[in-house]
Amino acid sequence: MKRIVSIALLIAGAALLSGCPKKHNVVEPPTAGTQVPGSSNTTGTEGASTSGRALGGDAAAGANAMTTGPLAKRIIYFDFDKSEIKPEFADTVSAHARNLTGHPNLKMKLEGNTDERGTREYNIGLGERRAQAVRRALMLQGVAESQLTTVSFGAERPAVEGDDEAAWAQNRRVEMVYIQ
């Protein structure tokens, strides 16, 4: 199963290699037809299907606004062993809350991550805790529960490789992904 490498990831990767500061703008270009295989058959499937495609360009009002300005910031970083949203990310959360409440057809997936330290399954829990912190913050600002889903990757999908705090700080994050 191929995973389609979006241009956003390549830009982010290049920015990291060139030593850009911690916070970087993730630009998600409208990409029609970026498919993720949906949940297929078999036992044990229940609950809302949450696999989704990246947002198509024509799909929602305000799509242009999503590639520039505060909405282009899609990553929230966390301190070690913490899931509190730091004040420096309050504006980012508010901008996306306004966007989501203003466009009730939009949906967002919150991907929680940790650095590599500790046990993998416990880190899944910590990643989920971070994603939930962002979810609650958005809901407190009026975003409907039905617009938000969470997924935790724990330590399994680091943004940056490395066994030091510089790398770890980049990996303790929640990524805000608009889906359809």
């Binding site: 609950g47 330290r117 416990y122």
Partner: protein, 283 residues
């Protein structure tokens, strides 16, 4: 891919291990679930994905592996028959589906699932009837379940007391979890020796993560067995004499062995990829 032994002590029994191998660089990695002989020879890829694989767990009869796959960009628990390659997705509920652990009779899986508000708790899934029983109900993170040999209790990790510690709870509804670890602020991922005399787990010491054991038949004294900074994922050999675990060597993920009494250390080094999450098969 060949393992190269540092101390040259060959395993005296023909058993198997499963582990995860991760190859490649960000943003595109290749994840493989591999089964090999206990000394690393004869590796076979049993599952391969462009998304993370986690938590391989051997069925008690050694015929199947349960594991977590993010192949749909969401975590699901699968059971795969090794001889045929046949896979069945056994849990794909909304949210977390993680940490599968086989009951001793092979009929149930303990799992970690989440509520909508992201509360992780432990459940037991009957594989035949699909009946789901909730075992823990606590706002903390409850995960990493392991069955007692009599199938009546689960050992697990919980941070209900602030940081992760190891607990044991009977699967009967009325039982309250009993805490087992009291030294240090981070004790997680319990694994039982085959005779249930010892518990292996991950403990934080000197800022790093190490493999420790606790004597379940004594007074709960813990012994730290390893000296690394990233020693995690312990699994007992079926004869109970050795523990395989994941470590890091010069920035790379490797597998390592330590004797259960801590006296003999051995490092297995792979020729490619990052190795993690070893699981030693039963006899």
């Amino acid at each position: 891919m060949v393992f190269e032994k540092i101390l040259g002590i060959r395993g005296a029994f023909a058993t198997r291990i499963a582990y995860i191998s991760v190859i490649g660089a960000l943003p595109r990695k290749d994840y493989r679930l591999i089964v090999a002989d206990a000394d690393g020879e004869n590796p076979h890829v049993v599952m391969e994905s462009g998304e993370p694989l986690m938590s391989p767990a051997w069925s008690p009869d050694g015929q199947k592996l349960a594991y977590v796959s993010f192949e749909n960009r969401l975590p699901s628990v699968y059971v795969q028959v090794l001889k045929t390659g046949e896979r069945q997705r056994v849990s794909a509920r909304a949210g977390v589906n993680q940490a599968p652990a086989w009951s001793p009779d092979g009929k149930k899986l303990a799992l970690t699932l989440s509520t909508r508000d992201g509360n992780l708790d432990i459940y037991v899934l009957d594989l035949a009837t699909q009946a789901l029983t909730r075992i823990t109900d606590d706002p903390g993170i409850d995960t990493e379940p392991q069955w007692s040999n009599d199938g009546q209790s689960l050992y697990f990790t919980s941070d209900r007391a602030g940081g992760p510690q190891i607990y044991r709870v009977g699967i009967e509804a009325s039982d309250k979890p009993r805490r087992l670890t009291f030294q240090g602020s981070y004790n997680a991922r319990p694994r039982l020796s085959p005779d249930e005399s010892q518990l292996a787990f991950v403990t934080q010491e000197d800022g790093g993560y190490r493999i420790a054991t606790m004597d379940l038949r004594g007074h709960g004294e813990a012994q730290v067995l390893t000296k690394g900074h990233f020693d995690v994922s312990p699994s007992f050999a079926p004869n109970g004499a050795e523990i395989i675990y994941a470590s890091r060597d010069r920035g790379r993920g490797v597998l390592a062995l330590v004797s259960a009494d801590g006296r003999v250390q051995e490092r297995l080094v792979s020729s490619e990829g990052e190795l993690q999450e070893p699981a030693w098969a039963p006899f």
